[in-house]
């Protein structure tokens, strides 16, 4: 494992209870991005849904904010091996967006401003397990963390929690997103270390 520098600690704590295998706990909130940060004003933001039959729905900011809102406390686990515990968010459960939608699809592909995509089984984003969040720690979600709105799916690796989210397509068959088509796991459960496909 190389030459150990006894005075070098890094910033991490490791192997704590409640932390998936191979993860380090960090106190700060690293900014991860695979491209430039899009700057989207709330007035320009629209979230779109399309089903496998081609029907669609759209929510602008005001309509989106009239949907049910929930406060969420969650641990985050990034595939680059940091975890951040007890983060506070506010947003709309994905259930509320999909409420009453007629679909047989079993998978969802989320789209972001800037071109990012990620795929998830619908069962992983329904049942109170995923949110479209717009507040972090009681303040508007800043662009570097995905504002105005990001997906939050805390039980999966954080690349599934797409930043700058702008839409979702419901699809009958799973279709890999940005990282998933580049060798990352289609599902991404940190407790099973589903890092690579």
């Amino acid at each position: 494992m190389g030459i150990v520098s006894s005075g070098f600690q890094g910033r991490r704590k490791r192997d704590l209870p409640g932390v998936p295998p191979g993860q380090y706990v960090t106190e700060d909130f690293p900014v991860l991005s695979a491209g430039p940060t899009p700057r989207i004003e709330r007035d320009d933001w629209v979230f779109s849904l399309r089903t496998e039959s081609g029907t669609g729905r759209h929510w602008d900011w005001n309509v989106f904010m009239s949907l049910p809102q929930e406060d969420v406390t969650a641990d985050l686990h990034c595939v680059t091996s940091w975890s951040k515990l007890g983060t506070h968010w506010r947003g709309v459960p994905v259930d509320a967006v999909l409420n009453g939608v007629d679909t047989q699809a079993e998978f969802a592909l989320f789209y972001s401003y800037g071109g990012y995509t990620t795929n998830l089984p619908l069962s992983d984003v329904l049942g109170g397990r995923a949110w479209l969040v717009h507040e972090f720690d009681g303040a508007d979600l800043p662009p570097e963390h995905g504002g105005p709105v990001r997906l939050l799916v805390p039980h999966l690796y954080l690349w599934k929690s797409a930043k700058w989210v702008r839409g979702v397509e419901l699809i009958p068959q799973d279709r890999p997103g940005f990282w998933e088509s580049r060798g990352y796991h289609l599902h991404g459960d940190p407790w099973r270390e589903e890092r690579y496909g």
């Binding site: 900014v31 991860l32 491209g35 430039p36 940060t37 680059t80 071109g115 580049r182």
Partner: protein, 99 residues
């Protein structure tokens, strides 16, 4: 090129990329000559410039190199468990000077 981590709070998110130059170390594990000095042609927009001049995003599951003109993904480099996974499919061509 001092330290590539430890984000000072005042930095803006637009600064979150490096030069492709920073790929020289990991690519030296794979290639006998320096690829960052090669001229690469972007498969998305056709822009042609040194790999070292493209924009490198390192705070991500894998290192992603993007075209400074169009933002298209040029290269992905993933180092894990003693293996390097290299995806060069964003380039249509690399012109390498052989000294």
């Amino acid at each position: 090129m001092s330290e590539w981590t430890g984000r000072p709070a005042e930095r803006s998110a637009e600064d979150d990329y490096l030069d492709g130059n920073a790929l020289a170390g990991p690519l030296s594990e794979v290639f006998a000559i320096d690829i960052t000095a090669a001229l690469g042609t972007c498969g998305t927009c056709g822009d042609r410039r040194a790999v070292a001049e493209a924009h490198l995003y390192v705070n991500a599951p894998a290192k992603i190199l993007r075209c400074p003109s169009c933002g298209g993904v040029l290269l992905r480099l993933d180092e894990r468990g003693g293996r390097v996974i290299l995806d060069l499919s964003g380039f249509t061509q690399l012109t390498i000077e052989v000294r």
